[in-house]
């Protein structure tokens, strides 16, 4: 069971939250102008990092606000959370093979 620090409500258990996948993916400003490959990249392709991962969560059964979390996907260690639009906290990034 993860304990996720919601930046608005504090630390709660994972089943209060819903997952939003990879963070910092920017939706193309004008979807009609990008190629199919660029659109597929935005829509489907994933970093799927094994290690330090920046991801989006929403506090569904709490404040219902979206925010970002930095978590290690192998050890499940949560390094911290930050509001949308804020800079991520500085963490010692790791990737595993």
């Amino acid at each position: 069971m993860l304990r996720i620090p919601c930046p608005y409500c504090g630390e709660r258990t994972e089943n209060e939250f819903s997952y939003g996948g990879e963070a910092h993916k920017v939706r193309p400003e004008r979807p009609e102008e990008v190629s199919d490959a660029q659109w597929a990249d935005y829509l489907f392709l994933q970093k799927n990092t094994k290690g330090t991962f920046y991801e989006r969560w929403v506090h569904t059964y709490g404040c219902r606000r979206w925010f970002n979390v930095v978590r290690d996907t192998l050890t499940n260690e949560v390094h911290g959370s930050y509001k949308m639009g804020e800079e991520p906290p500085k963490v010692d990034e790791k990737t595993y093979v």
Binding site: E14, Y19, D36, D41, K47, N48, K50, T73, L74, V97
Partner: protein
């Protein structure tokens, strides 16, 4: 030459207290160069090597595996085999596979304990009833056996079920595929490994991939923990870690890796003879030959490589099982584990060419790859040998995420595999 297994070899070896059985496969050191290297020594990888050697005449090939044979998802799944998928493309793929399952034990001279004990999919809501009936019609049009069961038929098949579902999950019917069933998962890996080894395929365990040599967009070698291997053909047949390998090769996949959990109970006398799945409530059970209930739960809601899984997931599954089978409320669970699965947005696998020349993909099987093991390897070997997708593999190309021709099996496959 590998000795055949038979009643005579069993008797002969019994006389020497089973101490003189021949090793089932060799464990050589890697050569400097191979015609093809298959990365991943699970079921799919071994079957790929088997058909490359058997049907395409490639004998100078290697299967490299970071851990041990069948120690990944091949040994971690809940061993269910079925082919009642809804879309034509999937029906072709999984039915091709089921037909190979039916002859596997004889072909390999290795008992994979394929047991066609039937798979039942329960419907708990009116919507599920409609979807299930639609899927049955679709199955039958594709020549796949599939029948609708009224609630009383379900009760006849599974006498211990509570059709009221404890009031929470009423059983409104279900579908049954009688040719479906289970198989002994690690026997599949061992049987194919033995057959591969006999044909001269090098099976190299404890050999991790550390990188790829790519020159002008063409793969020319694999760097491994056991040294450098030259090759112009690489088949990536890994599950949860396909994204990690794709990163090494410089491209991204539409895959999220997540732990998928399973549990087994203490062994009891025979009580459930089919596989019973309830997709809507994330609960499916079968009983192993040892008597344990084998229970499949869902994937975690978030990415992870932990091979452990999140508690609430198993809790939900067990809660549903207690409602459907009140008898099991006092069963104790013996083991729980997770396997890292590579889930695709449309719940269908990726089989075919990759952005790198000479590198081929067989991944993205998500929560349901075991059933497809022989068919997947068969069409993938053809794809690797001929450098073009096998007709059954063609719709499952990576490119479908660009063209938009997804094969959406979410509703049809449910969560249960």
């Amino acid at each position: 030459m590998t000795a055949r297994y038979s009643i005579f070899s069993l008797v002969k070896n019994a006389l020497s207290y089973h101490e003189n059985w021949q090793q089932a496969w060799h464990s050589p050191e890697p050569k400097k160069q191979y015609d093809a290297v298959i990365v991943g020594g699970g079921g799919h990888g071994l079957v790929t090597a088997y058909y490359l050697a058997k049907e395409h005449g490639l004998r100078n090939i290697a299967v490299i595996e970071r851990g041990w044979l069948g120690g990944g998802n091949t040994g971690r799944n809940t061993t269910i085999v079925r082919s009642n998928y809804m879309w034509d493309q999937s029906a072709a793929l999984y039915e091709h596979s089921l037909k190979l399952w039916e002859n596997m034990t004889r072909e390999l001279n290795f008992n994979v304990m394929f047991s066609q004990r039937s798979v039942l999919n329960l419907a708990h809501t009116l919507n599920e009833v409609r979807i299930t009936k639609r899927r049955i019609n679709s199955n039958r049009l594709n020549g796949i056996d599939s029948e609708w069961l009224e609630p009383e038929d379900v009760k006849r098949e599974v006498p211990i079920i509570d059709l009221r579902g404890g009031g929470r999950y009423p059983v409104m019917g279900g579908s049954i595929q009688r040719r479906a069933g289970t198989a002994r998962h690690d026997a599949v890996a061992w049987g194919y490994a033995r057959a591969c080894s006999e044909m001269g395929v090098d099976i190299i365990q404890q050999c991790a991939v550390e990188g790829f040599d790519i020159e002008g967009g063409q793969v020319t070698g694999v760097r491994t923990s056991k040294g450098h291997i030259k090759t112009n053909k690489v088949g990536l047949v890994v599950a949860g870690h396909c994204g990690v390998l794709a990163n090494m090769a410089g491209f991204k996949l539409p895959v999220n890796s997540r732990p998928l959990q399973a549990l087994v109970s203490e062994p009891v006398k025979p009580i459930v003879h089919n596989v019973v799945m309830a997709g809507a409530v994330h609960a499916y059970i079968s009983q192993s030959d040892k008597g344990e209930l084998v229970i499949g739960a869902g994937t975690d809601a978030y990415n992870g490589y932990s091979q452990w899984g999140s508690n609430p997931v198993t809790e939900d599954t067990l809660a549903a099982i207690c409602e459907l089978y009140p008898l099991f409320k006092r069963m104790r669970m013996l083991r729980q584990w997770g396997g890292v699965v590579d889930t695709c947005p449309d719940a269908s696998p990726i089989i075919g060419l990759s952005p790198v020349k000479g590198m081929y993909l067989n991944c993205g099987w998500g929560t349901g790859g075991f059933k497809a093991t022989p068919g997947s390897g068969h069409i993938f070997a053809d794809t690797v040998a001929n450098n073009r997708p096998h007709p059954i593999a063609a719709p499952f190309a990576l490119d479908r995420f660009r063209t938009g021709f997804l094969i959406d099996e979410h509703a049809a496959a449910g969560v249960a595999h």
